[in-house]
Symmetry: C2
Subunit: 441 residues, 2 copies
């Protein structure tokens, strides 16, 4: 999503449009407030979340316009009266938006965003907002779990081939980077976002050249100071020995081999053997990069076995958030025409009213507990997390840089106790309701 | 993806570009053939697949051009020599592509596509091809499993808010439709692909209006012949009674209520109770549409309980293919410069050579077994499934319509025995190697 780009409001569910008509024909034009949040049961698998996607969300809201072709298409459905379709030609999103800044560490049940606008407008943008914030929040969260598991080792995003579509690949690269990944293999994301790009070689390169030794030599000629050799095309131990041989040739010419990559096998054992071979040749500085099927769980397990891995490439399982490929993120009406409302279906409860999330911290900045309160109350010594980011359809300020978001995540994460960071069975972060919010439920 | 649209080759992994340079500097410019297939272990969770995504794949290959900005970005990385970057300005994909037509029922280990081109070109497009064919094949397959489970009941795609990004939403709508879904809630997909769109109302509509009765009445005024009432905002039984009341008012004015939607609760029990209430009022024609958390497994289970459900809306779990959010689809070098090659890492085996998939059918068209053979052999009474779809970088014919693809899937699926269609523990469809293909392994 780019600023100033027109974005079709037809990227929505049909019922948003049918409801728009029904609102309009039944004189329901008052302001509504919708709360966007992740349903509470999600904490079982995720002790924390990283709010992400706000930049794309705001650009999308600002750029929503029905084109002539959009309106002709709606007309062709023979479902909407002509005057309704004509009214869409002037459509702008004119609402106010409160949201957590990108990179805020947050929790299930907390509003990440609240949208206040004439109900038809607020309704129309539901599908887009859940899509954009949901996926990026999901991936940024998983990426931060990977960073946590890797205990300081660098990780690069290698997921592009397996992401669900093209812009998912872009969103994953960005979300992983803000959560602390060192870079991505996605060249277009490198260009668009200024994220460092990295890449090594594929098995096909070795096969095309014919054998490890010739392939490594050929590659090192093109990248004398940036070579990482893929050593498991045929036999990883033989591959490591060939890498040593070429690394020594390179050293004789004043070049250092950067690393070797292992993409298969039992990583603990294999990485230790490879490290041994490299060290015996005095190549202590040559890094071992591991790239086969990693996610936060595999990283934790492999490092618990004291694998000799210096850096990870994490791909598929991050790119689709394989263990939780979707978040149960919802967008629920909380207030209409000055009246606080809530839904109460079995097992699905929403909180009425315009809200604020207040965070209490201890003296060192550590997160103690959050309180869900009403929008306008004040809670002593607690920081309100939702800030006004859009007024009357226009963003209030320029989005933060990726660097700023990255710093916010790093700092916030350091303020979170380890119990909430557990990959399985995390502690449940305490969230309370303020008295004023309780009273309107 | 649209025909004639420029597509940036930077939508790729960095190593494809570094390998391009190394190929070029080491005079590796001969033709290579890559095989794209789903790794064999996938059959444990999927007894069959539906090949999908070819139209987007071919458009992407045809439209790949490095823009000036792309080349400037690569230059800025200080990794590639100027002459290499200059050479990209004339880049076109000039290869030949063999592929299964979209909608072909296929199996793990079978090549869905083979690409033959100068190795640098064939290498560059790997990431894009796996991304595009992998996701659409995955979702089309899951959609067809849903259709199978629903035993003739119509299903609509309601996944847009939870798909992983914007174009995933488009690809899901298309993939579900070709596999037999009746339509989608995604209005933009309706416009782009001509897929029927459908939509009802959300809980927010009921909450904004104030109660079920008023909300149904208001909605029916706007859509007198197209109303489906959402009846579980507060209490589904009360909701059903309110729907009956408004349906009778509508009938008095010559209009029929189309259906009621249930979005929560224990579906078998709830749907039967709602059916009873509708039938008691003589509203036998009013359909019950169920939309809460369905996928093929839930549909099968719910119908096994004899739920009174006439149609399904399937959302999140289809949109991200929740039980298998990615396919282990790979793109492996099979031949280079006239030499058949294969990789042989632990647990990862590729078949060398240019291949063809031959399908044997019985007298009624039923699928008996497939044989993987060499590209040029003939196998008696067996149909070759890979056809040449691109020559020298240009598509050989216009893509089939969605209607044609839909028919192909329906017909192919009817030729597949039920054992292969089981949602869990499917039979393993027999795939053999021809003698000629075995001999080059």
């Amino acid at each position: 999503m780019n600023r100033n780009k027109i974005f079709s409001p037809l990227f929505t569910d049909m019922y948003e449009l049918t409801m728009m008509l029904a609102y309009s024909e039944n004189n329901l034009a008052a302001n509504a407030t919708f709360s966007l949040y992740i349903r509470g049961s999600a904490w079982l698998k995720r002790g924390f979340f990283v709010a992400a996607g706000l930049e794309d969300a705001l650009y999308g809201l600002e750029g929503m316009r029905f084109s002539q072709a959009d309106m002709e298409y709606l007309q062709s459905l023979n479902l909407f009266p002509k005057e309704f379709i004509r009214s869409l030609s002037g459509f702008r999103f004119t609402g106010d938006v409160w949201a957590m800044p990108e990179g805020t560490i947050c929790f299930a049940d907390e509003p990440l965003m609240e949208v206040t606008a004439p109900i038809a407008e607020a309704q129309l943008v539901e599908t887009f907002l859940i899509n954009t914030l949901g996926f990026q929040t999901n991936v940024a969260t998983k990426a931060l779990r990977c960073i946590h598991a890797a205990k300081g080792r660098p990780i690069a995003d290698f997921s592009l081939r397996r992401t669900q579509g093209l812009d998912a690949g872009m969103q994953v690269a960005r979300s992983a980077y803000i959560s602390g990944f060192t870079g991505t293999s996605n060249v277009l994301a490198g260009k668009k976002y200024g994220i460092p790009v990295s890449g090594t070689m594929a098995h096909s390169f070795v096969l095309a050249v014919g054998n490890d030794l010739e392939a490594f030599r050929a590659y090192s000629r093109s990248f004398p100071d940036n070579s990482i050799f893929l050593i498991d095309t045929r036999d990883v131990i033989e591959g490591a020995r060939s890498a040593v041989k070429i690394a020594l040739e390179m050293a004789a010419n004043g070049h250092l081999l950067k690393g070797v990559r292992i993409d298969s096998g039992e990583m603990v054992e294999v990485s230790k053997n490879v490290r041994h071979i490299l060290n015996e040749a005095g190549l202590h500085q040559v890094q071992i990069i591991a790239t086969s099927g990693f996610d936060e769980f595999e990283i934790e397990k492999t490092l618990a076995g004291e694998a000799a891995i210096d850096a990870f490439g994490v791909g598929t399982k991050l790119g689709v958030s394989a263990d939780t490929p979707y978040l149960d993120m919802v967008y629920k009406l909380a207030r209409y025409d000055g009246r606080d409302v809530k839904k109460n279906s079995p097992g699905k409860i929403t909180l009425a009213g315009e809200k604020q999330v207040f965070r209490k911290t201890d003296r060192t900045g550590g997160y103690v507990a959050d309180t869900l309160g009403t929008r306008n109350e004040m809670i002593d010594e607690a920081e309100p997390l939702l800030i006004k980011v859009m007024e009357k359809g226009l963003s209030i300020q320029a989005p933060p840089t990726l660097h700023d978001i990255r710093k916010r995540i790093q700092s916030g994460f350091s303020n979170l106790d380890d119990g909430y960071k557990s990959l399985i069975n995390p502690d449940k972060y305490p969230i309370r309701l303020s008295r004023r919010l309780s009273e309107i439920q």
